[in-house]
Structure formats: C-alpha cells, structure tokens
C-alpha cells in the first residue's frame, strides 16, 4: 500500500509517528510542503530559518538513488550559502571550466567558462543530486537543533486534498494508517509528475521531445579523463546521435547517449548493451556502472503556479530538458523567491496578493529556461531534415570560422533571470549605474575585504549604500530594512564596476532573495519607503 517507487541513496527521514496522527480533530499547520525532493526540503529550510513552522510530507524515507542532476550553478550555491549549506557542496563538488565540442572525429572547438574574478562561488560545480539533497537535509537537522520549527515526515503520502478558501485539507497515508491534516498554505513540490496537479485537475502543457537518452554513471577503475565537459555531435564511435561525458565526485563520470525514440528500454538497460556503447566510446578502460537510466523529456509549465492556498514549485510547476542544467537550479530560485514572500504573508506583514508576484516572476523565469532549453534541444536533436542540414553546416564551419561558434548549442548553462518591468520591480533612478545591477537583477557578488558582498546581505531587506549617507535602520509596517554602508576604501574595483559604473555614489534597496528592488544616486526616504511597499505587494505605486 505504501511501497517505494524507487530505491534510496540515503535514508534520512525514516517514518516516525507524529502526534498529529492521534489528534481528535485534524491539526491545522501554517505551511505544509508536499514532496521532500531538493525543492521541498529547501522550501522548509527557508521558512524554518524565518521561524515559520513547516511540515514536509514525503512518500519515501529519504533521497532517491541515481544522480539525475549533476550541474549546480553559481546562483544555486549563493542561495545555499544564505541557507548555510553551500560549504559542503563546494567541498564535495567538482569545479570545472573547460568544455570541448566534437563533431564526428574532430574537435571543433573548446571553451572556457572564464569565471569572472571576485565571486565567492565558481560558475558551476558538478555534484550528484543525492549529495546535494543530503547536504540540505543535514542543514535542516542542524537548524532543527537550533530551534527551527521544521518537521520532515517520511512515508507520509498525500492521497487527497480538498481546497477551501482559507486552508487545505489533506488525507495522508502512513505505514500505520491514514490521518487528516490541515494546512493554511500547501506548497506542491511533488516533482514533474505531480500527483497534486492531478488531484486538482490542473494543466501542464508544453512540448514533448521525441527522443530518449541513456544515462550511465560509471566509476573509472584505472583510467582518468580530465575535469572537462566533452560533448560530441554524431560521434564517430556511434554510441548515440550525441554523447556527453562529464566528471562527478568519487571518480564517477556521467555519460549521456542520445539513443532515439521508440527504443526497447528493457533491452537497452541490460548491462551488456550499455557496456557495448561505452566500450565503443572509451576503448580499453575498466569501469563499473554505478547507475543507469533512460529518460525522455518535456519542456512545459503550469499556466498558474498559484491556486489560492496552493502554490507549486520546482519540477511540479515547470519542467525543462536537462540541456543547460536548468531544472533543480531554477527550482532553487523558486524557493528563494517564495520563501520571503510566504514568510511575510504568514506573519501578517504583507497581503496575500504578494504571492501572485511569485507566479509572475517565476513563470517569467520558467519561460526563459524553457526557451533556452528548447533551443538547445532543437540543436542537439534536429527535428527536420533542413534543421539537421543547418545544424551540421554550423558544425562544419565552427572549426575554422569563429562566427559559427556562438550558434553551436549543446546547452546554454543556467543563469538567473532579471525581473525586468515586473510588478515588484521599482525605479532605476541611478544615473550612470551599470546595466547588470538594474532593478530586478540578482545582485552579483563582489569581494569585500576578506569576505564577499552577498554574505553581508542577511536574510531581510537591505539598503546598500555606496559613498552615500542614510539612516542605520528604517522600515515600514514592521518590515525592517538593514543598512549595509560602504565608504571609500570598502569600494573595491569589483564593487565599483558592478554597482557604481559611472556614478560616484549609489543607494540600492535589495530584497531578501538578493534581487535589486530599486536604486538611486542618493538616499531619499519617501522613494525608499515607496519602493519597499511596492516590493511587498502594497499600494501598487
């Protein structure tokens, strides 16, 4: 009745009976998260660190086997750093910068991500998804010990929900039988095939791609390949229409073969058949297969991420093809976006319409991710004869002619989006300010003495002042704004280039998720309060 649908890599939240199961009338919780994948657990961590009681329900007792996501982007690490769990990720992860692109038997070019100096985190790390999730759960355990009101309930499967005006009623199955729980807010983080979406009869529309990919994670026993991303179009070894080789921690390499549509999954997943493909590619090396799987993919999203008291995040709300590593990375940005908004609403400090901006901003992000990953997919798996001819023409030219290289698309790697012109975004009144820090942008990191700027921004609103005077503390309606004042020598070249540009002073109002609300050359009390109110969903100024 409650059988596992997949085997576990780490059993981190074994079933325990909760007092809620014995309550005479159903207990009502402020926030319940359905699904304990990376997005659900991170949501709980964000809210719990704000002191908001949150319960996570997952139908398993831990993290699923199999790597799935491997590339985690700088923005994800910055968000994890705010939550206090980036250090183990960075320690364990593999940092890489170089990529090579091959066509048939020719290397057509290589690239270096050339990460900009002055950031605490690298552009990317490779890390098996189960480790990524484990580090978040470990941070939850630590936060619980420090008093954060978070509960992770394993083997709690949500089977039915009834949505009321001001709460949601959940029917839950456990190994010891069913119980009922109520939630003022229900966050759906139950993955791409979201049962919650089904229960509510909600749409999930987009494109299905007619291709499948065979993943093999292998541990090399006597060989070594460089820490680079190698991508082949139409490789000479013919193990797939395209192939990716990428390093992960523990001497494990991810190999991804594009094997076409309508394959016999059972046959393809036989070890001997997987080995045939790998041997053709790598020649005489010894390895063991750690994990393998076949996946197909879609690019689609829900029309609305918010349905009254029910809010969707992560793969449940949007799904992209893996090219570009935009799945988990964008889900973590959902959490970053939702956490502070839901926190303010639950505490009665902002109207619940603030949550509509979660949909607006993250659907905008999802559309950008879907666009990028659809384009990469179309390039990697051309859909028509002419598309294939153009694709190969680009590859034929790219080796000798640099102009063609920007057209080669084996995945545009995940970067966060800028909420240009959306409803919470305020005015850009900083004359001479750099474009990259305009309102709506995620703040770029920069060195500050021994430390880094983003680490100084804290968990609430910040007024960042550069060679500008302003009051130490300000706020509105119980929402505090903390000043971070930088003067003269604090202003490193990187901070000047990223935040001042041609200006000699600047004032930035920054949201808890480190996106810029508005900016000015000097402090103006009325303008600051107006921008703060707007970014909290009050008086649409």
């Amino acid at each position: 009745m409650l059988d596992d649908r997949y085997s576990l890599a780490f059993r981190l939240y074994p079933y325990e009976r909760s007092a809620d199961q014995d309550a005479a009338t159903p207990v009502r919780r402020p926030v319940v998260v359905m699904g304990g994948g990376p997005i659900g657990v991170a949501t709980a961590l964000d809210l719990g660190l704000q002191g908001i009681p949150v319960v996570v329900l997952d139908d398993h007792e831990g993290i699923g086997m199999g790597s799935r996501a491997i590339c985690f982007a700088k923005r994800t690490l910055e968000i994890a750093d705010r939550y206090g769990c980036a250090a183990p990720m960075l320690d364990k992860g593999v940092v890489w910068n170089v990529g090579k692109v091959f066509h048939d038997d020719r290397q057509i070019y290589d690239f270096n991500l050339l990460p900009e100096d002055g950031h605490k985190f690298p552009a990317f790390i490779n890390l098996q998804q189960p480790y990524f999730e484990k580090f978040i759960v470990e941070r939850v355990r630590q936060a619980q010990a420090e008093g954060a009101p978070i509960e992770l309930r394993g083997k709690n499967r949500v089977d039915r929900v009834e949505v009321r005006d001001d709460h949601v009623v959940l029917q839950i199955t456990t190994p010891e039988g069913p119980y009922t729980l109520e939630a003022e807010w229900l966050i759906g983080c139950d993955g791409a095939s979201s049962p919650l979406r089904g229960m509510l009869g909600l749409d999930f529309e987009g494109r299905v791609f007619q291709d499948s990919f065979l993943i093999a994670d292998i541990r090399m026993l006597n060989a070594n390949f460089p820490t680079e991303r190698w991508f082949w179009f139409e490789p000479w070894f013919k193990s797939g229409a395209s192939t990716l080789l990428h390093k992960q921690p523990d001497d494990v390499w991810r190999i991804d073969f594009q094997i076409g549509w309508g394959v016999d999954r059972k046959e393809e997943l036989k070890e001997e058949n997987i080995r045939k493909r790998i041997d053709a590619m790598l020649g005489k090396v010894e390895y063991e297969i750690v994990w393998s799987s076949i996946y197909t993919f879609q690019c689609r999203r829900m029309k609305q991420f918010r349905h009254g008291r029910v809010i969707f995040a992560g793969d449940a709300a949007h799904q992209v093809s893996p090219f570009g590593a935009r799945g988990a990375n964008s889900g973590i940005q959902d959490v970053d976006n939702l956490g502070w908004k839901l926190g303010l609403v639950v505490q009665g400090k902002a109207p619940d319409t603030l949550l509509d901006s979660y949909h607006q901003e993250r659907a905008y992000g999802a559309d950008e991710n879907i666009l990028n990953s659809t384009r990469a997919t179309d390039f990697i798996t051309p859909k028509s004869r002419m598309s294939h001819i153009f694709r190969n023409a680009v590859l034929d030219l790219a080796e000798q002619f640099a102009f063609a290289r920007p057209l080669v698309n084996s995945g545009r790697l995940s970067v966060p989006c800028t909420y240009d012109g959306l409803s919470l975004t305020g005015e850009d009144a900083l004359i001479g300010g750099p474009a990259r820090t305009r309102p709506g942008s995620p703040c770029p990191d920069a060195p500050m003495g021994e430390a880094f700027l983003l680490g100084q921004l804290g968990g609430g609103f910040t007024l960042l002042t550069l060679d500008a005077d302003a009051p130490e503390e300000l706020g509105d309606d119980g929402i505090p704004v903390t000043r971070l004042a930088l003067y003269g020598a604090d202003l490193t070249d990187a901070i000047r280039a990223r935040y001042l540009g041609a200006a000699t002073s600047a004032v930035y109002l920054i949201r808890p998720d480190q996106h810029v609300v508005a900016r000015w050359n000097t402090y103006d009390q009325a303008a600051t309060v107006a921008a703060l109110r707007k970014s909290c969903g009050k008086d649409a100024a």
Binding site: F379, S384, R385, M386, A402, P406, L407, R412
Partner: protein, 68 residues
C-alpha cells in the same frame, strides 16, 4: 571590406531558431528554394563583389578555413 568570420550576429540563439522556424512544415524542395531566396537577398544586402567571392570560397571547403 573583408569577409567577417568573427561573431557578428546579436542574439545568435534567437536568430538561429527564427531561421529554423522559417522552414517549419516545408518540403525539402520548398526549403531549398527558401534558402536560395534567403542567400540572394542577403547577398544583395552585402553588396560587395569581393566579399561575396570570399564567402563562396570559404564555404566550398570549410575544413581549410580558406577565404582567398
């Protein structure tokens, strides 16, 4: 004016997807004809005989990178 072989197209991904989308639903012959029309109108835009000759030579044997 010489043949530009360094990147020169703003929003390359957007351009490429628009180009591919222009072929949606066309037969091979119709696609080839569309390409021919496109080449002719772009050639007119370039309007420089030496550059057009260099472009033709460049694509005849892309592996050499020769435009002379």
């Amino acid at each position: 004016m010489t043949l530009i072989t360094d990147p020169n197209i703003p929003d390359p991904d957007g351009f490429y997807s628009e180009l591919i989308a222009a072929h949606d639903g066309l037969s091979d012959d119709d696609s080839a004809a569309l390409n021919a029309r496109l080449i002719l109108i772009l050639a007119n835009q370039i309007g420089n005989r030496a550059v057009l000759s260099a472009a033709i030579r460049a694509v005849q044997c892309p592996a050499t990178g020769d435009t002379k």
